[in-house]
Symmetry: C2
Subunit: 535 residues, 2 copies
């Protein structure tokens, strides 16, 4: 939460308060690393997480600027003139020749593009009150380039308010991960229109150019007391230096929980409760007959899905061969498993299905929804962190009741759903919920098991907003259709998302292809679902 | 919480539930590092934190076993016999000669002592249902020793249930920290009775012996896929390898927040509220006249204390010269400060007093208690995480009311205060509170500013139990005398603790020397305070 340290928004009393706008902490993250080391993957994910934590974060990608510059040069017709022409064509083609470190004019052009991108970042950071974290996504793989970047930041007028700096390097020594990344690059903007073999050849040449002058973060940065974070082989090793700031600590904490395992994360609301059936909000409540029917259907559905997944396991297991499991010790006991609650972490051997862990809130409507799953086969955890948004004094009322009996509360909440904290003991706003769910997200990211999370509408909203990269306003306004469930599958370029609607008559869940197909559009597609009580 | 992943204890419904006892995750931490690298400091602090998180943790110190073995040999009269005599005297005197790596018989004796200590650890871990983390506190500075330790764990019958392994190395290259650590060693059990110059000479010889054969964690462990955590210069650098387990992740997260700054952490309850004055629990409530008097006194007291601290600043600043601040960038903006909410982090320049930050809950009784502090001079944060233990449906009742109206609730809570969750929406138990306060503790440890935390009795209890290393039963039963405040000052060998009692007539706070003197005794001294409502 901007301006506060680690709390939800300050408010007077326990409820009904609004977040005062205080100054926002500012941080420049400078990426470092050879091409195809997963920098952009890390950047996208980190950006999503930080925005979800409500620190406004933006990525400034030097490659995009280079391609844009190339196109503009081309459109200007400069490619017909001598001198600029070679440059223009080189830019436009993104060919390896452009990355030759022995040609000073090309080095200088590349530096200019990087520094212009940095200027744009610094400008964004200084000119907007709410901007918090700018990420410079580029290789920055030489000492000289990093020196130029640092001195530009030092001289920048934007840093008259204190701005933190963090270098974030991604290194990759694992051949399997590298091969995979190289293949992905050929589908990227520089190569997708080219012949794959020629593209690969050109890209290898580009990487070779970079490798000539590449200096990883280390002694020089340590002598200059520059904070850095080095991620090796997607988290196999993590090295940090002088991490002391609040935002930097949050970032390291997040990066410690990366993994590339293929798995399914299912997110469902609990079945209909007695309170749900009459529109009352926020209380512990038992399932209705309809809710129990839904619960039984969910058990069947998840079992089917799990079988299907196991049947396709070979091609699903991991994007890359993962040689990064800790060694196993002792009969029956594996290192990887041992520190999870016993029985919950998956045995990674090909002969055993991947574990499915079930997380619910502590409220009966979610606990009862998963009661049909075997306690022996499915490790279950009840988490207070997954409890419904606490409605304080309004718990047990319907929204109509609130409008009629507490019109001021109703109006204030309607206007600022994200920041408005329900009045009364324990009352929360959406920002409180984000802070409460932060450890849940970290644990979701750390796990390599399948997960089934059964929780409440407001919590589903906040969890989905993390995975789908929704911003403030979309988050609070997003409508979750009744009895829909969501599947998130980590993939090399982000998250694959599917939505399933419950069919009460047949007791099945149906894939909703319009929602699942392509990218999820914030606030639009899901809003087209059935009319829903707000929450 | 043993058995659960990251939630508070599971319970049926939202309240009145009890924690089911599930199997406890097990982890062996093997310390690595030359003598005087702060291993025992880290171990003590980590052990305190993990026990506070309710993972039963115990340190098994090889040095203690060596000294004990020496004393036994001496008492047996073996020192009169040839052969054993040299060994016995060497053990007893802890002289450097014992650590000669070129004498195979001494290497073997030292290995035996280490492995016996490890056996004791493994036995403790396997034989007790609730034991969770065993820490082997020794140098383990050679590859051979670490191989022997690993193979002993592999062969151990105790690890039939899965047991995780984590190597934790402390390295130190900073001369100032090293000098300080050497000086501290001379006050330790091996040297305190000796002439300091001769002691120092002997200890330097001991370290030199170790350095001959020392191999830091690295390639060998990586090839064998052994998880490790390397801490360099008290957190200036942190290197991790294959950290994937739940407990290991918690440990890394904690170690990332170490710092050695001298500063004051004040913990107070809010002043008397209207509810307090009639014994009602758990609700937001305004201060009474007496409460406002207390609040005004607190402002004066903290101002005085801060002035005194600044006057003594020279000798208080830091135990060691700290060269590990990140570089400063841009006029007016420091790197160290930048990522804290602006204005909250301290300027470390000698010309400016160390900042005092004020954290309260979101409830009026604590917010009003600090309203007399200038908002300009003291950065204030209201944190939902510092709110009172949520009493659910019992909020607003007195303990007598609860006994009379809800005798079953009253009895159940009395019996298992730690695990019993108040019934009703949002109701919590002490374990829930620990989980809620975990990020507060991490932030307390990360900060280098003075802090004034004004919160509620149950929260004070949980925070103090962390700093004072209280165990389960002490925690819930500990009596916090009315209107007392507590000062925690990080020091090289732990935490310096003082208690202050409020004097309503004079509006002052008086140091309570019986409580402050020496170590705090759990459950005894504080219980001798004035009779108090439970909570």
């Amino acid at each position: 939460m901007p301006g506060s340290t680690l709390s939800g928004p300050p408010a007077s009393g326990t409820g009904g308060g609004m977040t005062p706008r205080t100054a926002v902490p500012k941080l420049v993250i400078i990426m470092v690393g050879l091409p195809a080391r997963g920098k952009s993957y890390i950047v996208r994910k980190l950006c999503r997480y930080l925005n979800w934590l409500q620190y406004e974060t933006r990525v400034f990608n030097v490659g995009e600027r280079r391609r844009l510059a190339g196109r503009i040069t081309e459109l200007d017709g400069d490619h017909d003139k001598a001198g600029a022409s070679r440059l223009g064509r080189t830019l436009f083609s993104s060919s390896a020749a452009f990355f030759d470190p022995t040609d000073p004019s090309l080095v200088s052009v590349r530096d200019d593009i990087a520094l212009e991108t940095l200027d744009e970042l610094l400008d964004w950071l200084s000119s907007r009150e709410n901007s918090s974290i700018g990420i410079l996504d580029a290789t920055n793989s030489t000492r000289e380039r990093r020196e130029r970047v640092l001195s530009r930041i030092r001289r920048s007028t934007c840093t008259c308010t204190s701005t933190g700096i963090l270098f974030l390097e991604s290194c990759c020594f694992d051949r399997d991960i590298l091969d995979q990344n190289f293949r992905l690059k050929l589908q990227g903007p520089d190569y997708r229109t080219q012949d794959p073999d020629r593209g690969l050849e050109d890209f290898r040449q580009r990487v070779a150019f970079y490798e000539k002058s590449y200096v990883p973060l280390g002694e020089a940065e340590e002598q200059e007391r520059i904070p850095y974070l080095q991620v090796i082989d997607v988290g196999r090793k993590i090295n940090t230096h002088l991490i002391q700031g609040f935002l930097s600590s949050r970032i390291v904490e997040y990066m410690l929980n990366f993994n590339l395992s293929k798995r399914q994360i299912w997110i469902f609301c609990g079945g209909e409760s007695t309170d749900d059936s009459v529109g009352r909000i926020g209380r512990p409540s038992d399932l209705t007959e309809a809710g129990r029917h839904y619960a039984a259907s969910l058990v069947r559905f998840i079992h089917e899905q799990r079988e299907q997944w196991e049947a396709n396991r070979e091609r699903k297991m991991c994007w890359v061969q993962n040689n990064h499991e800790p060694a196993e010790f002792a009969p029956g006991g594996g290192q990887a498993r041992s520190q999870d609650p016993p029985g919950t972490a998956a045995d990674r051997s090909p002969h055993r299905p991947l574990n499915l862990c079930i997380w619910t809130s502590t409220m009966p409507q979610t606990v009862q929804t998963v009661s049909g799953f075997s306690d022996v086969l499915f490790p279950k955890s009840e988490m207070k962190m997954l409890d419904d948004l606490n409605a304080g004094d309004m718990a047990g009322l319907t929204f109509d009741d609130i409008a009629a009996l507490h019109p001021a509360v109703h109006a204030a909440r309607k206007q600022h759903k994200l920041l408005y904290r329900w009045p009364g003991l324990g009352g929360e706003c959406y920002l409180d919920l984000i802070e409460r769910l932060r450890p849940v997200i970290l644990e979701l990211e750390r796990r390599k098991d399948h997960l089934l999370v059964v929780t409440h509408r407001a919590v589903v909203r906040v969890l989905l907003s993390y995975f789908l990269d929704l911003r403030r306003d979309d988050l609070a306004e997003m409508v979750i259709p009744k009895n829909w469930g969501f599947l998130l599958e980590p993939a090399p370029y982000g998250i694959e998302f599917s939505a399933y609607s419950y069919q009460p008559v047949s007791g099945t869940f149906r894939l909703e292809p319009e929602v699942s197909r392509g990218r999820f559009l914030p606030g639009s597609i899901l809003q087209s679902g059935s009319k829903e009580v707000e929450g």
